[in-house]
């Protein structure tokens, strides 16, 4: 062990850093708990408002896919980022079009997928967790100041209809926001463990 790491002043600094990290972790955990708690409550309020039949897993899309994932670096596991699919289509191209129909062998008619922008099939843009641009959240589908309003074709809110209660939109916003905090929590936890190990090694070095 080097003299630098076994220096009592250095150990003190490491200890203070650890305490700061713990405090940050607890604060972030508390804020994410509040966010989640409110989101679940908003969801319950929305169910009460719209009816329990209308806001339930029964209305989930059969072709649902993840629109936000967490990528973890292979070399540095602490490098976690939220990856969001920001594909949108213009309202003008979609309006009035129900999509092509094609018959399956079973006689059940299905709609083919709507044509989407080419970005959907590619990897989504990397966005740093915690620095997320709020305007790109799937829950934000409307910008009234734009002439052509774009609609997030993969917005799960549409599964429950167009006229959903405001509480459901608030719940979605809460869950989306909490994802960033979870990633931050995981990064902090990883950093905590690393700092703890380093501190233990440093203290072991002083006693040796």
């Amino acid at each position: 062990m080097s003299e630098k790491t076994s220096n009592p002043a250095s150990i003190d600094n490491q200890l203070f850093e650890l305490f700061d990290c713990v405090a940050e972790y607890q604060q972030l955990r508390s804020s994410s708990n509040i966010l989640l708690r409110q989101a679940f409550f908003d969801l319950a309020s929305a169910k009460r408002s719209a009816g329990y039949q209308w806001i339930s897993p029964d209305l989930y899309s059969g072709r649902a896919h993840a629109i936000a994932t967490v990528s973890i670096g292979e070399e540095h596991p602490i490098d976690m980022r939220v990856v969001r699919n920001n594909s949108r289509i213009d309202n003008g191209n979609e309006k009035g079009q129900g999509g092509d129909r094609e018959k399956t062998d079973g006689g059940l008619k299905r709609r083919s997928r709507r044509r989407l922008s080419s970005d959907e099939s590619e990897h989504a843009k990397l966005t740093a967790s915690g620095d997320e641009d709020e305007e790109d959240l799937p829950g934000d589908t409307e910008k009234p100041d734009k002439k052509q309003r774009s609609v997030a074709v993969n917005d799960p809110l549409l599964w429950f209809g167009m006229l959903v209660p405001p509480t459901l939109k608030a719940a979605q916003s809460g869950f989306v926001s909490s994802l960033d905090k979870f990633v931050q929590l995981a990064q902090l936890k990883h950093r905590l463990v690393q700092q703890q190990q380093a501190l233990q090694e440093a203290m072991a070095g002083t006693t040796a």
Binding site: S49, S61, G96, G161, T167
Partner: protein, 355 residues
Amino acid sequence: MNEIYFNADAGYLEGIVRGYRDGLITAPQYLNLTQCETMDDLKLQLATTDYASFLQNEPSPMSTSTLSARCTDALVAEFQYLQQNAAEPISKFLDYITYGYMIDNVVLLITGTLHERDTHDLLEKCHPLGFFDTMPALCVATTVQDLYSTVLVDSPLAGYFRECLSAEDLNELNIEIIRNTLHKAYLEDFYAYCQNLGEPTASIMADIIRLEADRRTVNITINSFGTELSKDDRAKLYPRLGNMYPEAQTRLARVDDMDQVKAILEQYGEYKAMLLGVSLNSTSGSSGGNELSLEDRFFSKEVQLNKDSFEQQFHYGVFYSWLRLKEQEIRNIVWIAECISQQQKDKINNYTSIY
């Protein structure tokens, strides 16, 4: 003269429904429910109510969705008993009540098919009161024309589809328009039917249906903020009856935010009183322990009208009112259950007590 012959046709059923009314949960029982710490405690407290036999076989821990489903089963069982023992003209009135559930089932099946859900799963999730014979065939339709010509033309909802036939393909926006247009046509038709039944059914049901129309108008307005629904389309979804028809509806069709909604509602006496103490930026109890939302006020008003209908005899309104009170009771129970399971005890009292 109505009083003389009413009991011959519907006296037994009126007695039954008044018995059902007496089984509704009272305020002291609600207090006991709100003091439960766990879902098992809640289940124990509900063992003294009409839901006991439907909940006793549910394993612990019971989820709120299961609780809602079992309570609905209890309601369906009671209503179906009324239907099975009803003859004309009361049977037609009870059938009219079920048309609303039929509309919801139709929309559920169309939406589920659009999202490529399994049809057998969807059929199991439909409301039992709204089931009709050709309902399973809904899953093959892709346009409104197909929907009408292959399935609904022989159903009780055929007449309500006239205003929907202009919609072409079935997508999220059109389905929502169809749903609200059907409900609008149903409400108007039900209102006209009740007026033909004569007094006192006509006046009692008129008040209840007008309130329902107003509530739908406000909900459509508020829920349409920030969506693709144009203002013209929004106006077309409003029922053509109610205290807000036509003047307030014309103005509500043009608003863009909650403040404008409040400004319009405040100009009408009964709604001005309803707005006192209401936080328009919150919805059902989400803002705090004692703040009420506009929706809660509508629920309270609806409960009051439905309770008042039992003060008169020899009318069919008691059947509709009991059903709505029972649905409110289920809403209350599930809300209390959600607050218990989420440990949100400060908001547990945001229910609308009936008796």
